[in-house]
């Protein structure tokens, strides 16, 4: 049995990865070549019309080696905070805890809880308080972070946060139906997250 071991070990270390991972993405083409070929066969005189894919910026392909920077797109329903910004690391407040994302992170979809998003670029750290949202990390080291509401931490008013926390804690103890309890619990969670963001 052990005579085979060295042969097997040598085989696995020297064999190259011949199949790509299913989460690796190729670059999207800027034009649909099938459509253009079929068009020119049928109507050679007119130029093919532009399809939606030619208006969009092509998706970058999964690079073969880990890139040095992470590209972050941080969007809100009413504004795009960061668009294609190259950073070193972001820390997102996932429901499973603070998650640090570096270039080359495994593709992940994370639901976010109310908390702080920090963007690290060289020695600068920018922090935002997010209300909730999702973080999508792709194989090509692009991270899309979407939130409904995001504010810099110094836009939060500590007095209002304390008052809200006290109100909702009181509502939680006096709530009767499931829905009221859930709403009060949400209030307590969000306000305590804001509280720890201000003080932490």
């Amino acid at each position: 049995m052990f005579r085979q071991a060295s042969r097997l070990l040598a085989r696995t270390t020297t064999s190259r990865r011949s199949r790509a991972f299913s989460s690796d993405v190729p670059a999207t083409p800027a034009q649909d070549s099938n459509f253009i070929e079929s068009w020119t066969k049928v109507i050679p005189n007119l130029d093919p019309p532009k399809t939606p894919s030619s208006f969009m910026a092509p998706r970058p392909a999964t690079p073969p080696s880990i890139p040095s920077k992470l590209t972050v797109n941080f969007v809100l329903p009413y504004a795009s905070e960061l668009s294609g910004k190259e950073v070193d690391m972001v820390i997102v407040p996932a429901t499973t805890g603070q998650m640090g994302v570096l270039p080359g992170h495994v593709p992940t979809i994370a639901e976010l809880k109310p908390g702080i998003l920090s963007v690290h670029e060289g020695n600068d750290v920018t922090k935002y308080f997010l209300s909730s949202g999702f973080a999508l990390i792709h194989a090509n080291s692009v991270a899309d972070i979407i939130a409904v509401e995001a504010v810099p931490v110094d836009h939060l008013d500590p007095a209002l946060v304390q008052k809200g926390l006290a109100d909702f804690t009181q509502k939680l103890s006096s709530a009767s139906t499931d829905l009221e309890k859930a709403e009060a619990q949400i209030g307590v969670d969000v306000h305590s997250a804001m509280n720890s963001a201000i003080t932490g």
Binding site: S131, V148, I186, V190
Partner: protein
Amino acid sequence: MASNAAVPFWRAAGMTYITYSNICANLVRNCLKEPHKTEALTREKVHFSISKWTDGKPEKPTVRSDSPEE
């Protein structure tokens, strides 16, 4: 696959994710400092105009303003 997997407390209480997310956003907006708070409250307003169509022509539209759910 467990269909009774641990669900978040708000879903167990019958709330959808979008309601949860909107409640969180409203709570955060209410705790902002003054100039930012008024800007945020204008963002929170949702309004849409509805017009009924009869005989292929739209009637005069009405503007409905949905007050934010709390």
